[in-house]
Amino acid sequence: MVSIHFRSQMSYRASFVFEFLGTLTVGILEFATFALVLPRFEHIGGWGLGEVAFLAGVVNLSFGLMDMVFSGFDPGRFGRHVRLGQFDQLLLRPVNITLQVLGSEFVLRRIGRILVGISILAFSFTLIEVDWTPEKFLVLAFAILGQIGFFGSLFMVGSTITFWTVESIEVMNVFTYGGSEMISYPMHIYPNFLRRFFTFILPAMFLNYYPAIYILELPDPLGMPGFAHWLSAPVGLLMLLVARVVWHFGIRQYQSTGT
């Protein structure tokens, strides 16, 4: 499947190159703005440029990986497939529908965002020293997996909503793109109600912030239990399970489009 998408995208070589360069440029510009503005404040909530860059790097890397794996569930793109009746064609094939949607798109140009993430991480390591231990590597891997699961599940729910309406894609974008922006900063800078929302309702708190606190050995101003940094992957998994239920409910309700 992947090789198919690779080949079909390569059949538009020029457009692939331009899109790839485009994502890369946007990513670098985004980071440049961030890197230029941050030193003026010296620190954000007690965290320096290196620490915040670490957060941003992990988010970009994870989001890029997620976007590559879950690009079939990108609500904008998925909604278009539904409207054009291409989703029907997937339902007619004897393969698990979730796997088919996952395999229906494989957007290579997301490599751009992944590279941006890696560059920001590399940059952060020029500013901060990390005493790497096996546990820290594991926590980092869990954080990345958790974020892939978390944002992937938001993509799935967003795609499910497009069975009924396309207008609410924007609402989902607030959570996905807004969410990825938000967890690029230390969570204790946000007001109480936001923090509560992102602890108990959408547990984004554990995705990036606590793993970073553990890896960078920073104090936890919010007083979470000591195992909080391990929760990223479980949170991602839990979200995916919920998203799967929503998704299957959506398929049952799916009304197709008129011919």
């Binding site: 079909s8 054009l84 094939r93 698990n96 529908i97 309700q253 197709s256």
Partner: protein, 329 residues
């Protein structure tokens, strides 16, 4: 033999949002939500035997596509029973679709940017078709549908007729028991239509594939189907032999007469003269109250006749009458 399709009181209702009109309509649409239920398919029942080739007719929005989508497992029925090939299509979807093929006229199942042959190979893999069977089917279809002229072309560059041939081939590579064709000849020219019809007939007769065909083009039906089902506004109006359809709803027939000499007055009892030109007279007579032989008897008593022809009304006319008059209601 047991039926391959069993449908009993099958219904599909859609909830459609009511839209306000007039002043502040956009605002009211946003704040209030009212729904209206549309019965796209309303308690239809029918059975289909293996090997049948049935035409499914109806005007736009009659419920044809909705029925096909339930039969192919895309839509979950609102109520009623539906069993195809011994399975519940929507419930056992992945297993069920292994044994069916479906072509939705306006859409393609092929990969837009890949050469046709690569899409075929990929479908062969997806359906896990044994290599030998796959090659045999492909060779057969390549020849019957003349696929070779474009088999290495990406799908996006095919003409509509070529794409349809490729799509029909794709739907049959896994040798399904059942083939659903939704408007397979829409937008095609006469030659392309004919080629596809011949192919459908071949598949039905040689492979014994059961075919359900929806179409607007009644010549498809006349050439291919012995049996038709007519649906309108979600209700099944007719289900039976194509010949019997004309018999039941055909309305008036025409009798074309060529006489040996010109007569002033050609009126006879039981028929109406609708054209009279020189030796040729056309009568129109009701199907049920008058028989053709009665008329011919009366005519030959009075006039000298050279030639006769009884004309059935065109199928199109018949179908139109069914829709317009709702003769079964």
């Amino acid at each position: 033999m047991t039926p391959i399709i069993r449908v009993n009181k099958l219904s599909k209702h859609f909830k459609v949002r009511k839209h306000h009109r007039g002043r502040l309509a956009a605002l009211r649409n946003l704040t209030t939500r009212q729904y209206r239920t549309v019965k796209a398919v309303d308690e239809i029942s029918f059975e289909l035997m293996p090997g049948e080739l049935v035409g499914y007719l109806g005007p736009n929005g009659a419920g044809k596509s909705t029925t096909i989508k339930m039969l192919t497992g895309l839509l979950v029925p609102t109520s009623g029973e539906l069993e195809v090939n011994g399975m519940l299509p929507w419930k056992q979807r992945t297993r069920y679709v292994r044994d069916i093929g479906a072509v939705f006229g306006q859409r393609t199942t092929l990969w837009w940017d890949l050469p046709v042959i690569e899409s075929f190979d990929l479908l062969g893999t997806i359906y896990k078709v044994p290599e030998k069977d796959f090659q045999r089917s492909l060779d057969e279809f390549r020849q019957l549908l003349s696929l070779d002229e474009f088999i290495n072309t990406p799908v996006r560059s095919l003409s509509l007729g070529q794409r349809m041939r490729a799509d029909i081939c794709a739907a049959l590579l896994h040798n399904p028991k059942l083939l659903f064709l939704d408007e397979p000849t829409i937008g095609l020219d006469v030659v392309a239509k004919e080629r596809i019809r011949q192919f459908i007939q071949h598949i039905n007769q040689v492979r014994g594939t059961t075919v359900v065909l929806t179409t607007h083009d009644l010549s498809d039906v006349e050439k291919l189907c012995q049996r038709v089902m007519v649906i309108d506004e979600g209700k099944l109006l007719y289900n039976g032999q194509l010949d019997a359809l004309a018999d039941r709803f055909g309305g008036d027939r025409h009798l074309l007469v060529e006489m040996t000499e010109e007569y002033e007055n050609v009126e006879i009892e039981g028929a109406q003269v609708i054209a009279h030109q020189g030796h040729r007279v056309t009568y129109q007579f009701p199907r049920h109250s008058t028989t053709a032989s009665e008329l011919i008897g009366r005519l030959s008593e009075r006039y000298r006749i050279r030639d006769l022809e009884v004309r059935e009304p065109a199928l199109e006319e018949t179908i139109r009458r069914i829709y317009e008059e709702r003769l079964l209601k």
